[in-house]
């Protein structure tokens, strides 16, 4: 018999483990070492425990099991107050979270997990555990005293056994409640105590494991031992009870293990026999928690995307119907027209609901930052408080994931360059505790994410001087906005020294590029001495795009609205003809190269006279160019479909969409068009710098 194939559940386990780890990290960060919240400690312990249990159930994630086991041991000591919770301990736990995360990731990707970090962690945990060696060892072997204490004078009813319950290091309050519990499960016979251990003898028909199961609702299983004791007649052979005790203690260890595995699955029903009021209540609480969890289902993102696409199509079909409707007599076909309109509104509601499926709260990204701030600030010796606002704001999952890196960079940058050292802050009459605020909010169909620090602010002159020194296009006549945007230039860094946090000048340009790829815009506001605000505006989703439909010859194309700066009909004096079909557009002192759409796609029958064409000024990164088309047809929201399943690469096209009349239109890739035409153009107009035009047509 081969064991059942559990591999299909692996993904679920990985998802769950990562969620648990995320939760663990958050709880860890909220912990106050001076007065740790008992519930939080328990929560952290439960995370480790659940992962261990889950991993052990599969039997193939040994590294994960052994690491979590070690972690669990230490956490247990902390939880029971046997080990003080220090900052170092929290750091080790955080590190443990990272290692576990990597392990899970490694297993998920089906590669061998690197054992180095795990070994390192084990050593760290060991060290932590050794710090309090005396108490770290749970009182395992019981000295021979139990023989001496053997019960001699009690009559045990038929079918019941005499059980000796040992509670180790249990508070008086818990002891009292356990005492009552045991009273329900059996009859109290005697109790005694020595040091931090308390012994209870009860007579009960329940097996020891059930008693442990019940008591574990109040205390931890390592704090309790239940042994079957034998009523001893005065002159019994001395060794006998000891043997029995030994035998039973192995049994009870076994039962402890089995309980452990049961506990690792919170939804599993604990032994039903352990009926007593309080545990039942807790049981109910647990069950309802489990029910709440099962209120969500995991769905692969592809399925959701498919739905998004389908409903997008239905909306388009509906608009085709609406168009057809207009040719009908509104009186004769009144009910038909009305029905189609009703269908339209129902469809739109459905579309919104389906789009909402892809949405995730920003907390998904924000949750990572407290850790980042804590560690980076610690490294730099700064005191920083992180405030997050609008974490509930929902955004497309794909977008959130792709925003994590840029936001990480921005926050790191704020910590390193924005917030000053505490002494400096005190000197400037500011609170030594710096504040970084990240917020998210909806604003007119877009989402605005802000990273605000109350640090030193940006020094305009310093930025410009630095930029000139680095040979970047800058001048002292730049507007503040332009000067601030210099930080996003490749190779730009004002940090006096390069730290391992930032200062190498890589990163910020990547940030801007990433944001741009997502159709986002970046804006900086800064006041010297007061702080800096970096504002990012993003579209709500990637699947639907605001587009401008343009026509060239008989063909129609869609341009992303986010690239269009303006559209105009050029006058003769705005055009500078260079050679056949090549021209420049003079726009407010700036010379823009004109690219003809018909030329790129070899479109027949187009307007070749630029004076009669329409020009769309497009901005890609720092470059601007003019795209000549025959006509603008209007602005629409379009559902983006990619062509990758069919073509490996279509030049100058980023995807396709279905227009209102059911026909297919290609979506132009503004960046690729520029690339293909190989025109380098400096970012800024002649306002402060003579534009350098390179017409490198090969």
């Amino acid at each position: 018999m081969s064991s059942p194939d559990l591999s299909e559940f692996h993904d679920t386990f990985f998802d769950e483990a990562q969620e648990l780890l995320q939760g663990m990290e958050q709880t860890l960060l909220c912990l106050d070492p001076e007065s740790p919240d008992h519930e939080s400690l328990n929560a952290i312990f439960r995370c480790a425990h659940s992962i261990k249990g889950g991993a052990a159930a599969f039997g193939v994630f040994d590294d994960l099991v052994s690491t979590t086991h070690k972690l669990e041991n230490i956490l247990d000591l902390v939880r029971n107050g046997k080990m003080p919770l220090t900052h170092e301990a929290i750091s080790v736990f955080l590190k443990a979270k990272d290692v576990l995360w990597d392990l899970v990731q490694a297993y998920r990707e089906q590669r061998e997990p690197g054992s180095e970090s795990a070994q390192e962690l084990l050593a760290m945990l060991q060290q932590l555990g050794d710090a309090k060696p005396g108490e770290a060892k749970p009182a395992a072997a019981k000295p021979p005293e139990e023989k001496a204490e053997a019960i001699t004078d009690v009559a045990i009813p038929d079918g019941e056994k005499l059980l000796k319950v040992t509670l180790i290091d249990v508070s008086e309050k818990d002891r009292l409640s356990l005492h009552n519990e045991m009273g329900i499960m059996g009859t109290h016979i005697r109790q005694s105590s020595s040091g931090n251990e308390h012994y209870y003898w009860i007579s009960s028909a329940l097996p020891p494991e059930d008693i442990i199961a019940v008591c574990c609702f109040v205390i931890d299983e390592s704090q309790i031992q239940v042994k079957e004791s034998i009523p001893v007649v005065q002159d019994v052979v001395k060794e006998a009870p000891a043997e029995v005790a030994d035998h039973n203690s192995t049994q009870s260890t076994q039962s402890t293990q089995s309980i452990q595995s049961i506990q690792s699955k919170p939804e599993a029903t604990p032994p039903a026999k352990a009926v007593s009021e309080a545990p039942v209540k807790q049981l109910l609480a647990k069950t309802s928690a489990a029910n709440k969890e099962s209120g969500t289902i995991r769905v692969p993102i592809q399925k959701v995307d498919q739905l998004v696409n389908q409903v997008g199509e239905m909306v388009i079909n509906q608009s085709i119907l609406m168009q057809a409707n207009q040719s009908l007599d509104p009186i004769v076909h009144a009910s038909l027209i009305q029905d189609i309109e009703h269908m339209g509104s129902a469809l739109r509601t459905m579309q919104e609901a389906i789009m909402a499926l892809r949405m995730m709260p920003m907390d998904y990204a924000f949750g990572r930052f407290p850790r980042l701030v804590r560690e980076t600030a610690g490294k730099l010796g700064k005191q920083i408080e992180l405030i997050t606002k609008g974490g509930g704001t929902e955004l497309d999952k794909g977008l959130i994931e792709r925003m994590i890196d840029p936001l990480t960079h921005l926050i790191r940058n704020s910590i390193d360059h924005g917030i000053e050292m505490p002494e400096k802050r005190i000197a400037a009459d500011k609170d030594p505790l710096g504040k970084i605020t990240i917020s998210a909010q909806h604003q007119g169909g877009r989402i605005i994410i802000e990273v605000i620090d109350d640090g030193a602010g940006m020094d305009r002159e310093k930025l410009i001087n630095k930029a000139i020194e680095k040979g970047l296009p800058a001048s002292h006549n730049m507007t503040d906005d332009q000067a601030f945007m210099l930080i996003f230039e490749a190779g730009f860094s004002t940090a006096e020294k390069v730290t391992d946090v930032s200062g190498r000048g890589v990163g910020m340009d990547v940030v801007k590029r990433n944001i741009q790829e997502l159709g986002g815009l970046t804006q900086i506001e800064s006041e010297k001495g007061k702080g800096t605000t970096i504002r990012i505006s993003l579209p709500l989703t990637l699947a639907i795009m605001d587009g401008m439909t343009v026509q060239s010859g008989n063909e129609r194309f869609v341009l992303s609205l986010s690239h269009i700066v303006e559209c105009l009909q050029p006058t003769a004096d705005q055009l500078r003809m260079l050679e056949e079909n090549k021209a420049l557009l003079l726009l407010r002192g700036e010379h823009l190269p004109i690219i003809n759409l018909w030329e790129i796609f070899s479109i027949p029958n187009t307007e070749r006279d630029l004076k009669k064409s329409i020009i769309a000024v497009l901005q890609v990164g720092k470059s601007r160019y003019a795209l000549a088309v025959d006509q603008l047809l209007g602005q629409h929201q379009v559902v983006v479909k990619n062509l990758e399943t069919h073509f490996k690469r279509v030049p100058c096209v980023s995807g396709a969409t279905i227009l209102g009349d059911g026909s297919v239109a290609l979506i132009l890739d503004a960046a690729a068009i520029l690339e293909q035409n190989k025109i380098g153009l400096t970012a800024y107009g002649s306002g402060f710098n003579t534009p350098v035009l390179q017409q490198e047509r090969v």
Partner: protein, 159 residues
Amino acid sequence: MSQEKKDELNYHCLVFCVDGQEFAIDILKVQEIREYQPVNVTRVAHLPSYIQGLINLRGQIIPIIDLRIKLRVSEVEYTPQTVVIILGLSDRIVGIVVDSVSNVELIAKNTIEPPPNVNNPAAYLIGLTTYKDQLLQIVDVEKLIDHEHWTLSDISQEE
């Protein structure tokens, strides 16, 4: 004769005509047959000339290949008989334009001859048989449309 037995002995195929030649493809690959309207096809520049463009098939964007151009037929005409066969391939849907569709046929497998070994430039040929006194070419449609070559690099060779 049971259905399985029948399937084992026969090749169930769709027969179509390109430039007077008869071709047969596996019927299970055929999703539907549609009238061809060149107006509704969105041209895509920079692709091999046999790729006519894209159409909207009930919300899915699918490419259309003119098999006649692919098979290097000299003059391509569009008549009312010109149809698009929509093929449901393993990972995508593709439409092929052919002169006409003739029939759905059961061809006894023992009548199919292997393609000539020598000088077989068309790796898409599975076998040959006679059908209504004509040579019928049985083709592997995946190889026929030759998806792997729909890249930019191919244009230079193509044009």
